[in-house]
């Protein structure tokens, strides 16, 4: 009896002795380097060890039979190997594959500047936009410090690489915005309508942009709105021009923000002497609603709506009769709605559906005429995305725009209607982590023009080193002629630009260098042909060539972040009413800007300066012969702006105090000249004010 039990016990002891297996080895990566501190273990057991500095490991396990040896460590693909545990020591030397990080992948970047919090390899952060001196918190103002943009002081818009403002489209959540700026006022540039805080990411493309977008010959500014608001909070803004109030409520899967603002420039004008002759101080009021609903782990519904109304009046000099100034009064109402839904259907498929609506009403009274205009744009867009592996993807879809534009010019009424539709397909194919290509095709149809176009786009990016890459881009871009021409003649065709871009970029941690050469060939531009029966046609053409350089350094000087942009542009066109091929008035050959930001941690203060320079722009002088068209050039442009933002707290609430001074040196820049019809008199087109001071504060009250 005892014998038997003893036998069993002995067996058990023996078997457990037999079951103890020693596993040892050395862990290396695919380059042969040791991987320390990794977790090496037998799956579903406690047994395992961490690797030492030299990658070696050793442990005993009591598990037996078939088991799985697993290795896990940050930065590497996980590793598993089947093992047989039979008590014999095992020597295993696993080799780990380094995980391909997004950061290490080549980026399809020709033509594009990206600002984002989420992605790491970006040139700008959204906050950079707000803290750029001279930008005055305006997205477009900050974008103007990037290379490729012209310094145009007498009207709003982004003038990119020899293109006019109309050649840049602003896109919010995949859909084109009809009126991104407040309505134009003669010689007074207007701000953008959208707050930079609405967006989590911005892609500013100076050329060669994606086939998902169209109707822009030169450039696309793609803004992606933020998802769910982070916190419940109330914001109070108080500036020289009026108050701003907002409240955001956050629930688990829902957030709603409501805001209202009123502005009156009276106090601003009191402090900042105006050169413009204001008759009615600009006044505006508006409101905004932002709704976000997380529909599932991966789905989100977004709704954004804004309403604003503004009015103003000023006198502008009358060159024909200096004693009788022209009057200009404007009343504008603008409504904009944008909704979208994005969801991953499964691991591989995602879908985006968006709709937007905008209505813009202008009522303008000028000395000699009245103009009422009513523009409406309704859009729908669908994008399907098929993931091909971790990084590659194929996108396709379509969009439809229904546009109506009505203009009552005294007794004359004009109206335009267009249904524009487009289909697109685009593949981002990563051939390796070093080589990627984007191939896209866009097909457009405009009912108004009764014309179709097919626009191929492609780019190629190759990683030349750990931190550097080269890119190429090529594409066709079409745009429906501006309404002012379509009012005169509907029988026109698309205007077209072909882009050729080559780019080199070096980016590591806190330093970025970029240089990009481009050639943009215009064709089919609207041209006036006064002698023919049809006074307009598409025979205009032109080119824009040059290079842009960008350098940003956040590292060399502690607490200092600066960037330098330089653009060289060679451009000529023969279009509109040009008698010969000539350089357009909205272009400068050399543009330079320096943005400097200094964080003074002792005072919790961000101080910044922006200096911009642009060489003189051509202007029209009627005293010149047709051969000398645009041969005169304005003086060079200089501007130095400063800003100061102090972060502090008032009664425990996060508060930002800010002060900005634009055109510190008070330089009276010349943007061009306006001549009387007989050419005997001229006047300078200059800024509406010189040095301007602006201050205010923003308090955010959250639950702390």
């Amino acid at each position: 009896m005892k014998h038997l039990i003893g036998l069993i016990v002995a067996c058990l002891i023996l078997s457990s002795a037999w079951a103890q297996t020693k596993i040892s080895g050395k862990l290396t990566d695919d380059k042969g380097a040791a991987v320390p501190f990794a977790n090496v273990f037998i799956k579903d057991s406690y047994d395992g060890a961490s690797t030492a500095e030299d990658g070696s490991f050793s442990f005993d396990t009591f598990e037996e039979g078939d088991a799985i040896l697993a290795v896990s460590v940050i930065g590497y693909e996980s590793f598993e190997q089947a093992v047989k545990l039979e008590g014999k020591p095992l020597a295993i030397n696993p080799q780990l594959k380094a995980q391909v990080k997004e950061l290490d992948m080549v980026v399809i970047s020709a033509g594009a500047f990206e600002a984002s919090d989420e992605k790491k390899a970006v040139v700008l952060k959204p906050l950079d936009i707000v803290t750029t001196a001279g930008a005055a918190g305006d997205i477009f103002g900050a974008i103007q410090t990037l290379p490729g943009t012209a310094q145009i002081g007498e009207q709003e818009g982004l003038f990119v690489r020899g293109g006019s403002a109309a050649e840049t489209k602003t896109i919010i959540d995949e859909m084109v915005v009809q009126n991104p700026f407040f309505s134009s006022v003669p010689d007074v540039p207007q701000r953008g309508r959208f707050s930079p805080f609405l967006f989590k990411g911005t892609v500013f493309s100076t050329g060669g942009y994606s086939a998902l977008y169209g109707q822009a010959l030169s450039s696309a500014l793609v803004l992606n709105s933020a998802d769910l608001a982070d916190n419940t909070q109330t914001g109070i803004g108080l500036t020289m021009v009026g108050p701003f109030l907002s409240h955001t409520q956050r629930w688990e899967n829902t957030s709603v923000s409501v805001s209202a603002n009123y502005s009156n420039l009276e106090p601003f004008f009191k402090i900042n002497k105006q050169l413009a002759d204001w008759q009615e101080v600009p006044e505006s009021a508006g409101g905004e609603v932002v709704f976000r609903q997380k529909t599932s782990k991966t789905g989100i519904f977004k709704l954004y709506g804004t309403y604003s109304g503004n009015r103003l009046a000023l006198n502008t000099p009358n060159i024909e009769n200096p004693d009788m100034p022209n009057s200009f009064a404007l009343e504008n109402t603008n409504i904009y709605l944008n909704s979208s839904y994005k969801e991953w259907l499964n691991e591989n498929w995602s879908v985006f559906v968006g709709t937007s609506y905008s209505k813009d009403l202008d009522d303008i009274e000028e000395t000699t005429f009245n103009l009422e205009s009513d523009e409406e744009l309704t859009q729908g867009k669908l994008i399907l995305n098929r993931q091909l592996g971790k990084f590659s993807a194929l996108k396709f879809g379509g969009e439809v725009h229904s546009m109506t534009s009505f203009g009552q010019f005294d007794a004359f009424a004009n109206d335009l209607e267009d249904t524009y539709s487009a289909g697109f397909v685009e593949g981002d194919i990563f051939i390796s982590s070093k080589l990627a290509t984007r191939v896209g095709l866009r097909v457009e149809n405009s009912e108004l023009l009764n014309q179709q176009n097919i626009a191929p786009r492609t780019s190629l990016a190759y990683k030349t080193g750990e931190n550097s890459q080269m890119s190429l881009a090529y594409g066709h871009f079409y745009q429906t002629p501006e309404n002012q021409f379509l009012y005169q003649l509907e029988n026109l065709d698309y205007e077209r630009a072909d882009h050729y871009i080559i780019n080199y970029q070096r980016m590591n941690n806190d330093r970025t260098f970029r240089i990009e050469f481009y050639d943009k060939e215009y064709s089919g531009l609207v041209k006036s042909v006064p002698d023919s029966a049809q006074w307009l046609n598409n025979s205009g053409e032109g080119y824009a060539r040059g290079f842009d350089i960008f350098w940003r350094d956040k590292k060399t000087i502690r607490f200092v972040d600066y960037w330098i942009s330089y653009s060289y542009l060679d451009t000529k066109r023969n279009y509109r009413d040009f008698p010969i091929e000539a350089q357009p008035t909205f272009t400068s050959t050399h543009t330079f800007s320096l943005v400097y930001k200094h964080w003074i941690s002792k005072w919790r203060c961000n101080a910044g300066a922006t200096y911009t320079y642009a060489s003189g722009r051509p202007y029209f002088n009627p005293n010149r012969s047709a051969e000398e068209f645009h041969s005169d050039v304005t003086p060079d442009y200089h501007n130095l702006s400063l800003n100061l933002a102090k972060l502090t707290s008032i009664k425990g609430q996060f508060t930002v105090l800010f002060l900005s001074v634009s055109n510190v040196l008070g330089i009276e820049n010349t943007f061009g000249y306006r001549y009387s019809a007989d050419g005997s008199r001229r006047q300078t087109v200059g800024p509406p004010n010189l040095r301007t001071i602006f201050f205010g504060c923003f308090i955010s009250i959250g639950d702390q």
Partner: protein, 216 residues
Amino acid sequence: MKVLSLIFAFTLSAVVATAGGDNKKFIKTMETTIAMLDTVESPGSMMAVSNRFERIANAEQKEWLPLYYAAFCQIMISYMESDNEKKDEILDKAQALVDKANELEKKNSEIHILMGWIYSARIMVDPMTRGQKFGPQSSAMYTAAEQYDETNPRVDYMRGTSLFYTPPMWGGGKDKALPVLETAAEKYKNFKPKSSIHPTWGEKQTLEMIAQCNEE
């Protein structure tokens, strides 16, 4: 017959012993691994402890505590790392572990403390752009942690710590931190962990900080 029944009884007790021993083994391994936390000095040895917790978590798929401790280790490692990019990767891992723990044990005060702590650790990577976003998110987690267990001293300990390191002009400072830390100390006195492997950390540090507050 007798022999057979004896063998049967023996094997049965062996089976029972291993079954009961499983839980014992879990608690025992947890206890020894938790004890290791006190001896850790380098990121490497903290990593080794974290790996142990992860191995236990891997074998005990229903237990939230090993995940909790592994996340705790990762947060500690993130403070020892100087490279911002790696810091974020480590915190991503901590977040993944804590999310898993949260799936297993909903509305747990201790887990929410780690969630709030991860947010404050993330602020360190880029205070300028992240402070305004993650600060309130972090305090929202502490509020939740307090809701789930009012007696948890680590809520006040974490709040007191962040006040301690916030400059006075930002609504922080030692004088503001002191009463909060004292509340924490009071709660630590009365705090009874649910078991030998439930969290108990923070008391020593609380007392140290109180001493520093009182120095001036």
